[in-house]
C-alpha cells in the first residue's frame, strides 16, 4: 500500500480513532464537517501531534509514536493545499511558486510543466492580491506541487469557490491525479467532487472510519447512502468513448451496454468516469418502446433499501458496473422490485451534465 495511516487523538468532547490504507491515486476523506477529516490531514502534515499513531507514505515513516518518531512538518515532504489558499501576500505569484523549491529535498517537478498543467503561465508576474479565488487556489496547488512532495494533501480546496470556479479547477485536479505520481489525500464533503476524483474513498463519521474502499464500490454502496446523503446519491461508472455522433452525442461503451451522453470532449478510446445520479434513473420491468430516453441498460436488482420517507433506493448490476436508482415505495411495490429481479435502468441523456463526466488519463 502506498499510504498507511493510523491515528488516535483526544479532544475535549471528540475522540479521533482512524486507520486506513490506500493504493496510489486520490484518496478522498469524506464526511460531514466535524467528522475529523481536517484533523487527519493536519496530523499527516505534522501540524498536529496525535496521542498515538503511525503514518507511512511509500515506505517512508513520517510518524510512529511507538518508535518515538515525529518528523516536524518541514521535513515530511507533505505538500498541503489548504481550504483558504494561504499564499504569501508579500511575494509575487512566481516567487510563491518557487518558495518550496528553496527547501525541496528530492527532485521538484519541472516548473514549466506545473505552470502549464495548472494554466497559470499568465499570472507569474502578478501580485497575489490581484488574483481571483480560482487563480489563487491554482497557484496554491502549484506551490505545493513544486516543493517536491512525496504526498499531497488538499483540504477542501474548492470549498471557498463558487460553482463556475469549481468547474474551472476540477479538470486540473484530474490531470494532476493522472499526470503526476504523487499520491493525493483529498478532504471533501462534496459527492460530485468525490465522484470525479476519488480512487479510494474513506468515509469518516464522528472520528471513526465508517467505510473505506475503491470509489466506485463505496459510491454505489447502498449502505453508505445515509452518510452520502440521499439527494446526492449516485453511482460512478467507467467507460470508453466509442464514437462521436454528428448530432452532438457521444457514444460511450460501458460494461453493461452503451450510453449516449451530451458531447464529451475526448477522442475515441479515451477512458471516462460518469456519475449517474440515483434520482435520474427510471426502472422498467419490460424493455420500453416509444420512449424518448436513449439509455436503456439491462440490469439485475442487487439490493433494495427502504428509507424513512416515500423513497426506495435500488442498487442494480449492469454488466460489471453498479447503478443506483431512487424510486418511490409505491412504484417498487407495483413493479415487484426485489433482489434478483431483472429489469431495465433508464437514464435520460441530458440528465448527465458535464460536471458529472470526468476524463481519466492513462
Amino acid at each position: 500500500m502506498t499510504l498507511s495511516v493510523r491515528l488516535a487523538h483526544d479532544f475535549p468532547g471528540f475522540a479521533l480513532d482512524v486507520a486506513f490504507d490506500a493504493p496510489p491515486g486520490v484518496t478522498v476523506l469524506f464526511g460531514r464537517s466535524g467528522s475529523g477529516k481536517t484533523t487527519v490531514a493536519n496530523a499527516v502534515a505534522g501540524l498536529l501531534r496525535p496521542r498515538a499513531g503511525r503514518v507511512a507514505v511509500n515506505g517512508a515513516v513520517l510518524l510512529d509514536t511507538e518508535a518515538g518518531r515525529f518528523l516536524p512538518p518541514h521535513r515530511r515532504r507533505v505538500g498541503y493545499v489548504f481550504q483558504q489558499d494561504r499564499l504569501f501576500p508579500h511575494l509575487s505569484v512566481a516567487r510563491n511558486l518557487k518558495y518550496g523549491r528553496l527547501f525541496a529535498r528530492g527532485t521538484p517537478e519541472d516548473f514549466g510543466h506545473v505552470v502549464a498543467l495548472l494554466g497559470i503561465g499568465d499570472l507569474l508576474r502578478r501580485r497575489t492580491a490581484d488574483l481571483s479565488g480560482g487563480e489563487r487556489q491554482r497557484v496554491a496547488i502549484g506551490r505545493a506541487l513544486l516543493s517536491a512532495p512525496q504526498l499531497l494533501l488538499m483540504d477542501e480546496p474548492l470549498a471557498a469557490l463558487d460553482d463556475p470556479r469549481k468547474a474551472e479547477i476540477l479538470p486540473y485536479l484530474e490531470r494532476l491525479r493522472d499526470e503526476t505520481r504523487v499520491p493525493l489525500i483529498y478532504v471533501s464533503h462534496s459527492v460530485p467532487e468525490v465522484a470525479r476524483l476519488a480512487t479510494t474513498v474513506v468515509m469518516l463519521d464522528a472520528g471513526r472510519v465508517q467505510r473505506a474502499g475503491p470509489a466506485a464500490e463505496i459510491l454505489s454502496d447502498i449502505g453508505a447512502i445515509p452518510t452520502l446523503g440521499v439527494a446526492d446519491a449516485g453511482a460512478v461508472l467507467t467507460g470508453r468513448v466509442a464514437r462521436q455522433h454528428d448530432d452532438g452525442l457521444t457514444e460511450i461503451a460501458v460494461s453493461g451496454g452503451v450510453l449516449y451522453l451530451p458531447m464529451v470532449d475526448a477522442p475515441p478510446g479515451a477512458q471516462i468516469r460518469i456519475r449517474i445520479e440515483a434520482r435520474d434513473v427510471i426502472l422498467s420491468r419490460a424493455r420500453p418502446e416509444g420512449l424518448s430516453a436513449l439509455n436503456i441498460l439491462p440490469a439485475t436488482v442487487a439490493a433494495v433499501r427502504e428509507g424513512e420517507g416515500p423513497g426506495v433506493m435500488v442498487q442494480l448490476r449492469a454488466g460489471q458496473d453498479l447503478l443506483l436508482a431512487r424510486i418511490t415505495r409505491r412504484s417498487a411495490r407495483a413493479l415487484g422490485i426485489g433482489e434478483g429481479v431483472d429489469c431495465f435502468g433508464i437514464v435520460k441523456t441530458v440528465a448527465v451534465t458535464r460536471q458529472n463526466v470526468g476524463l481519466i488519463g492513462d
Binding site: 502534515a45 505534522g46 501540524l47 516536524p72 512538518p73 518541514h74 521535513r75 515530511r76 515532504r77 507533505v78 505538500g79 498541503y80 489548504f82 483558504q84 494561504r86 504569501f88 501576500p89 508579500h90 509575487s92 518558495y99 518550496g100 528553496l102 527547501f103 525541496a104 529535498r105 501580485r127 497575489t128 492580491a129 490581484d130 506551490r143 505545493a144 516543493s147
Partner: protein
Amino acid sequence: MSGWLSPEEWDAVALSLRVAFWATLVSLPPGILVAHALARWRFPGRQLLNGLVHLPLILPPVATGYLLLATFGRRAPVGQFLEQTLGIVFAFRWTGAALAAGIMAFPLMVRAIRLAIEAVDPRLEQAAATLGAARPLVFLTVTLPLILPGVIVGAILAFAKAMGEFGATITFVSNIPGQTQTLPSAIYAFLQVPGGEASALRLVLVSVAVAMGALLLSELVATRVARWIAGR
C-alpha cells in the same frame, strides 16, 4: 546649522544623535526576539518577561538609572566583569548613555513589533513549514517581511524616545559636557545658569523638530512599506 547652534549646543545634539542611533540599532535584534517570544511562544515566566520589559516605562527613570549604576557601574559586578573581559565601560561614558536610552526605549520598540507579529496569520507560517522551511527560515522569509512596517515604526519610536531620555541617563552617566551631556541634559544644564534660556530654547526647538520628524517619518514609512508588501 552649526552656525545657529553654539559649539556646546551642537555637541549635545550630535551626542544625542549618536546615542539614539546606537541604542536603536543594538536593541533591534533583541527587541524582535523578545516581541516574538511574547507574541508567539508559551513558556513559564512569560508574564515575568513581559513585566520586566515594560518596567522602565512605569518605574521612575531615576530608579532605572540607579539600577543601571548598581549593575553596570565600575565597581558593580557586571560592570567589572565587562571591563575586564571585553574592555567595555558604561559608567560615565556615552556608551552608558546609549545603554540607558536603549533600555528606556525598549518597551516602545517591543510593543510596536509585538503588535505587528500578532497581526501575522500563523497559518501562513504553517504553510511555509509544510513547504519545507525550518522554523528560523520561516521567520526570515515569511514573518520578518510581513512585520517590517511594525519593525520600522518600533525603531523610529525608540529612536525618538532615546533622543529625549533624561532621568536614567543623568543618574547613570551624569552630565559631562562633550562626553555624556545629551540634548535633554544640556537643556537642563542651560536652565541652571543665568542667561542660558536662549540656548535652552534653541535645543528645545531641535527636540521638537526631531520628535515631530520621527513621528511623521514612521507614519509615512509604515504606510509605504505596508502598501509595498500588500503589492499595491
